[in-house]
Symmetry: C2
Subunit: 221 residues, 2 copies
């Protein structure tokens, strides 16, 4: 049990999110108790890593036994802040925006989409989800602040990413998830995550072009 102002590695947070996923699947299979060994096998992380990750936040297991699947899931959700609802808005309802609006996981994980915006006049008023109608960008600041949106998702083209982020900040969101291929800048008090789909692909291309048929550089075990 720690919990000072110790810095938690970002990688740990990322893994915690995947632990939830794996724990839920194990629970579905009827696994009421999991060891770090089993969970590690299930989500491809070493048992030591799992125990270390959890130890940043407290003691959740029973020595000699393991972790109660359901309660560990809940504990991790609390750690990640998924025990409360995050009002979220999305800007840019192209295909990607649409994909996120429909993303089932979204609803299941404590996020609530309270508004969606687009600059295309032809899209305004379209119902994308039950009760969710696309609004014009001009309404962003007004609507998002009224709805107390905490998170803004940016799925506009690179060229309007910065101006969109600016509007979201003006509307009072506390965090921005940016999918546009442009690293936006926001004030220090706003939390920002840039997601680069192209980088992921490029990473794959790199790995492929440097993997000679017989060479083995980076083996995981």
């Amino acid at each position: 049990m720690k919990q000072k102002d110790i810095k938690i590695p970002e990688a740990t947070i990322k893994r915690l999110s995947t632990y939830i996923n794996c724990l839920e699947r194990l629970d579905d299979k009827g696994c009421q108790v999991v060891s770090s060994e089993l969970l590690g096998e299930s989500c491809q992380v070493s048992p030591a890593q799992i125990r270390k990750d959890l130890s940043y936040f407290g003691e959740f297991g029973v020595r000699g036994v393991g972790y109660a699947t359901k309660s560990l899931t809940e504990e991790i959700k609390v750690i990640l802040g998924l025990d409360c609802i995050w009002p979220t808005v999305l800007v840019g309802v192209g295909h990607l925006g649409h994909a996120l609006l429909n993303f089932t996981f979204f609803r299941e994980h404590g996020y609530r989409m309270v508004a969606a915006f687009d600059s295309d006049p032809g899209k305004i008023g379209t119902e994308v989800e039950e009760g969710l109608h696309i609004q014009p960008i001009e309404k962003l600041v007004e609507t998002a602040s009224r709805e107390k949106a905490a998170i803004g998702i940016v799925t506009v083209p690179a060229s309007s990413a910065q101006s969109t982020a600016d509007l979201l900040v003006e509307a009072g969101v506390r965090g921005i998830l940016n999918f546009a291929p442009f690293k936006v800048r926001v004030p220090d008090n706003i939390t920002l995550r840039n997601v680069s789909i192209v980088s992921e692909l490029d990473n794959l291309a790199y790995l492929l072009s440097n993997k000679k048929p017989r060479r083995r550089l980076k083996k995981k075990k």
Copy 2:
């Protein structure tokens, strides 16, 4: 100039991809030569980091001067393997799949979508891009191997992610980019990248819930 069997950090590869992006933008602005200082400012990476990243692959700059914008861009593309065309197939033409098929960057970065598949009979035959018609999953192995697809993109639901990956492996792809919220398993000789959009959101939620306003997370136990 190094280039032995030195291990390149994954973070370096990720950054190289963003360097290309920034370099192209700087070039558009008429910047023919950039210093690591300027490029760093532009893509929010420290100058030392940039020089270190590049030094893994060779010497691309001129001391006292900087880097030629255009040629550095090209050099990085070669490093990442973006100087050749990667035939790619996509499985699962939902909103996310659609988003990727239309992603302009895709074409611009040396990937060529050679086929798209979906299990929904209602979608078969639909033209999603110029000359690209959705094919049934049953045709995956045949078509993908005939087209010599090197990369497979998985945008199916979690429940069919593993079976889709299996088919792609059977079809002979060398790398898989998986967007489904399920960590698939593939043979050692296949390069795999899992992209978790939910993890990104969860990461944001964590950062937000541990920031000032809701400071107090008292530990019991």
